[in-house]
């Protein structure tokens, strides 16, 4: 009985440099989001974008690695990013309860 693996067909169609360039652009966009936005949650979204960009690099390079080291590392990065998002959101909720805002420029108690 023939088994179809659709992933096999598209494997290795794209040169590596495209992945790396896309990852660089994603990282820069994430950095821009982190710097420009003033809502704490949108800043978190930017952090997620940057983590994903790094992950994309790892995965793209692990195509050439028989041990799949990059993919394993990427897997752990995903887990740690999820944990980070959870804790950061809990902190954002606490900040909102205390200051009644999530605008990062208004949370400046330590400056006063």
């Amino acid at each position: 009985m023939p088994v179809f693996y659709p992933l096999l067909a598209v494997n290795s169609a794209i040169p590596l440099s495209y992945f790396v360039l896309a990852s660089a652009a994603l990282f820069s966009i994430g950095l821009g989001v982190v710097v420009v936005k003033r809502n704490a949650i949108v800043v978190l979204m930017g952090v997620e974008l940057m983590l994903n960009a790094a992950n994309l690099n790892l995965v793209a390079f692990s195509r050439y690695d028989p041990d799949l080291k990059g993919q394993m590392f990427g897997l752990f990065v995903i887990v740690v990013a999820a944990a980070e998002a959870v804790v950061a959101l809990a902190i954002v909720l606490l900040v909102y309860r205390r200051f009644q805002t999530v605008d990062l420029d208004e949370v400046n108690e330590m400056k006063r």
């Binding site: 710097v35 420009v36 936005k37 993919q71 394993m72």
Partner: protein, 168 residues
């Protein structure tokens, strides 16, 4: 390129929910790129963790931390569109930092010249599926990180539950 386009929308949109939805599109696009790079297990994980978990969490965060206009009454607020907006600050610095970062990365990538290595050294390894390999590695070579990550997740879970249960 869908990925990059929607990431740009995350950057440019002032509406937080539009940002969140375009972030969803970005994550799906990244999962597609994983598939193109031959990492099927990671693509499915990406879909489950990011699209199913992190994004829902972010949207919940938007919902819980939004405060409507306090001056208006509830009836007034109910009639107008419920838009959560975010302001942009330090736009010039952001453009400078992000553009500089991209320029730096771009020059480095141009100088690295991956294409030649690709042609002469290796061919990409073709696999039927990465799931068996990933599973075997997780249980043998990466058993310790696997356990550590499990403990980390547990700690994050307990920590988040504790933090969000503090009442003043």
């Amino acid at each position: 390129m869908l990925t990059l386009g929607s990431a740009v929308v995350v950057l440019l949109s002032r509406n937080v929910l539009y940002s969140a939805y375009s972030l969803l599109l970005t994550f799906v696009g990244i999962a597609a790129l994983y598939v193109l790079a031959g990492a099927d297990f990671l693509a499915v994980t990406q879909l489950m963790v990011y699209v199913g978990g992190v994004l829902v969490l972010l949207v919940f965060g938007v919902m819980l931390t939004h405060r409507g206009d306090a001056q208006k009454s509830v009836a007034q607020r109910a009639t107008e569109p419920n838009v959560v907006r975010t302001n942009h600050g330090r736009t010039l610095a952001g453009v400078l930092v992000a553009g500089g970062m991209f320029a730096l990365l771009f020059t480095v990538i141009q100088k690295a010249d991956f294409t030649r290595n690709e042609a002469t050294f290796y061919d990409p390894i073709t696999r039927v599926s990465t799931v068996p390999d990933v599973g075997i590695h997780l249980m043998t070579d990466y058993a310790l990180p696997f356990e550590v990550v499990g403990v980390l997740l547990l700690a994050a879970l307990i920590g988040a539950a504790y933090l969000s249960s503090i009442r003043n």
